[in-house]
């Protein structure tokens, strides 16, 4: 099994609406996703939602600036760390990851050779 980070990029304004039903739907979808990953033979190793990009601080060298590192229309809003057999399996899982206002990016986690 290999590890992949599923990065959830969405248009943040989708969640600006204080309507609680949007949040509730999102929460339900994510709960369902966690169950589906197991059904597909994968595993969720971790993950979380992030505060909006307005709360981000970037550090480049010695310079600390406000805002996210990269200005993108669709911002990183959360992530999952999953375990899957291969990329096809990871994509099969990630397709089910809720991201109604954007999409997800799947990145393999770097494996370092064992020492000794």
């Amino acid at each position: 099994m290999a590890q992949y980070l599923v990065l959830i990029y969405e248009n943040e304004s989708g969640y600006d609406n204080p309507d609680p039903s949007v949040w509730q739907q999102a929460m339900e979808a994510h709960n369902r996703f966690a169950e589906q990953v197991v059904e597909l033979g994968g595993q969720v190793l971790g993950g979380n939602a992030l505060q909006p990009t307005a709360t981000a601080t970037s550090i480049r060298g010695d310079v600390v600036t406000d805002g996210p590192f990269a200005e993108t229309k669709e911002a990183l809003g959360g992530f999952y760390l999953i375990e899957a057999k291969d990329l096809d399996h990871a994509l099969q899982i990630s397709r089910l990851c809720p991201a109604p206002f954007g999409g997800v990016e799947v990145r393999p986690v770097m494996e370092f050779p064992e020492q000794g």
Binding site: A2, K85, D86, L87, D88, L91, V106, P108, M110
Partner: protein, 416 residues
């Protein structure tokens, strides 16, 4: 001695064409490392030159090459003292298939090639990387050869291939044939890549000759292998039909001085009748049973042309009808452009111009066949000045010598 050398050379060329992908995949299964497997496969072919000249061509060249490549891989792994860590992999079930009785003409091999093709054309890779990898890993073309065919520098192509291989390894793109429900999406990439290899060979984007026969041969070869491996896929059938029907006209596409001849001016008696006949059989099958796909429909259009005794007697009504179906299956601006040209033949140049004006010019910006088509219709309507402007636009967009010569001649005809 010279005869023996010639025999070995031919046997090797044949083995390279037929067995390269198998030798490579068999070695990859051992090494789990594309680069190492490629290196060892190349070395096996090099070793074969000397060994076969000395001992004669083995009864089963594919098995000889595979065994040699694998042995080299094992040596390399041992040298790198990684054998210890790789050893558990060697006893995986996949390896046990490789018993001593294995022959490189069994079904397992067919699967190997197919697996490799689908890996190279995985949707997680960029289209240009898919093409480069397919030519390199499935067909065994060298990076300079691929760079030359696609008009990029060697370092650019090498970087492209390296990036794609790295992604296969790092992201663990699996060596597997997709399951039935994944096929429509995956197979389309494979067919597009094979078609792209063919079109690049059929009309080389630049250079002094119109056709690159080596690429055409590779594409036909790939399409035949795919059909052999997936005999029930109608679009595979459609693709092979399309390639055969288009390639059947090869001898007549330029005149004696190498200048481009349009379909209209080609000597139909010199079309390859055998290829046309094969293509027709395939296209009939590809059209049967449900909505035909885009390759089957393109092949059907090519078949209508191949069957017409002359340009004037072409069944334009049927051609336009097929283009209408094709536009539904594949709403591409290039298809719309070709449909407009067929409308011009069915209903006259005025109707053709109207159809051209209705196209999305933005999507076709930089596409040389749009101004060329407009120029032709304007010329036929006797609007010499406007036709000349359009011919000049088309000339600005093409680098192929044969096409340039043709456009220049037409430009001179309309007094430009």
């Amino acid at each position: 001695m010279a005869a023996q050398r010639e025999l070995v050379r031919e046997a090797l060329a044949e083995a390279h064409r037929r067995e390269w992908a198998h030798v490579l995949t068999a070695t990859v299964r051992l090494t789990r490392d594309l680069d190492l497997a490629e290196e060892c496969s190349q070395e096996a072919f090099l070793t074969a030159v000397e060994a076969w000249e000395r001992d004669g061509v083995p009864r089963n060249p594919g098995a000889w090459l595979t065994t040699t490549a694998k042995r080299k891989a094992l040596d390399a792994l041992r040298r790198a003292s990684t054998l210890r860590t790789k050893l558990p992999l060697l006893v995986e079930p996949e390896m046990t298939e490789d018993g001593p009785g294995e022959r490189p003409d069994g079904g397992d091999i067919a699967d190997d090639r197919l697996r490799l093709v689908f890996t190279c054309c995985h949707p997680a890779l960029a289209r240009e990387a898919q093409v480069a990898l397919t030519l390199r890993l499935v067909c065994g073309l060298t990076t300079p050869e691929i760079a030359h065919a696609f008009l990029v520098s060697e370092p650019t192509m090498a970087a492209r291939v390296t990036r794609a291989k790295k992604k296969i390894t790092a992201a663990r793109i699996p060596y597997r044939v997709p399951e039935t429900h994944e096929l429509p999406e995956r197979l389309d990439a494979v067919l597009t890549v094979v078609h792209l290899v063919f079109t690049t060979g059929h009309t080389a984007p630049s250079g002094d000759t119109l056709v690159r026969p080596d690429l055409v041969a590779r594409a036909l070869d790939l399409a035949r292998v795919l059909l052999e491996l997936m005999p029930d896929e109608r679009e595979v059938r459609g693709l092979l039909a399309l390639l055969l029907l288009n390639d059947a006209r090869r001898a007549t596409r330029v005149d004696d001085s190498g200048e481009l001849l349009l379909l209209e001016d080609q000597d139909r008696s010199r079309w390859d009748r055998e290829q046309v006949a094969d293509g027709r059989v395939l296209v009939m099958d590809a059209l049967r049973g449900g909505r035909p796909g885009r390759f089957a429909l393109q092949a059907a259009i090519a078949a209508v042309h191949a069957e017409a005794p002359s340009w004037g007697e072409t069944d334009w009504r049927q051609v336009v009808g097929l283009y209408d179906l094709l536009l539904q299956a594949w709403p591409s601006p290039v298809v719309a452009l070709n449909r407009a040209a067929a409308v011009a033949m069915r209903d006259g140049p005025d109707a053709g111009l109207a159809a051209l004006d209705a196209l999305d010019a933005g999507a076709l910006a930089g596409y040389r066949y749009l101004p060329a088509a407009r120029a032709d219709l304007l010329r036929r309507l006797g609007h010499a000045g406007e036709a000349a402007t359009a011919y000049r636009q088309a000339l600005d967009l093409t680098d192929n010598a044969a096409e340039r010569a043709f456009l220049q001649r037409r430009l001179a005809e309309v007094g430009g």
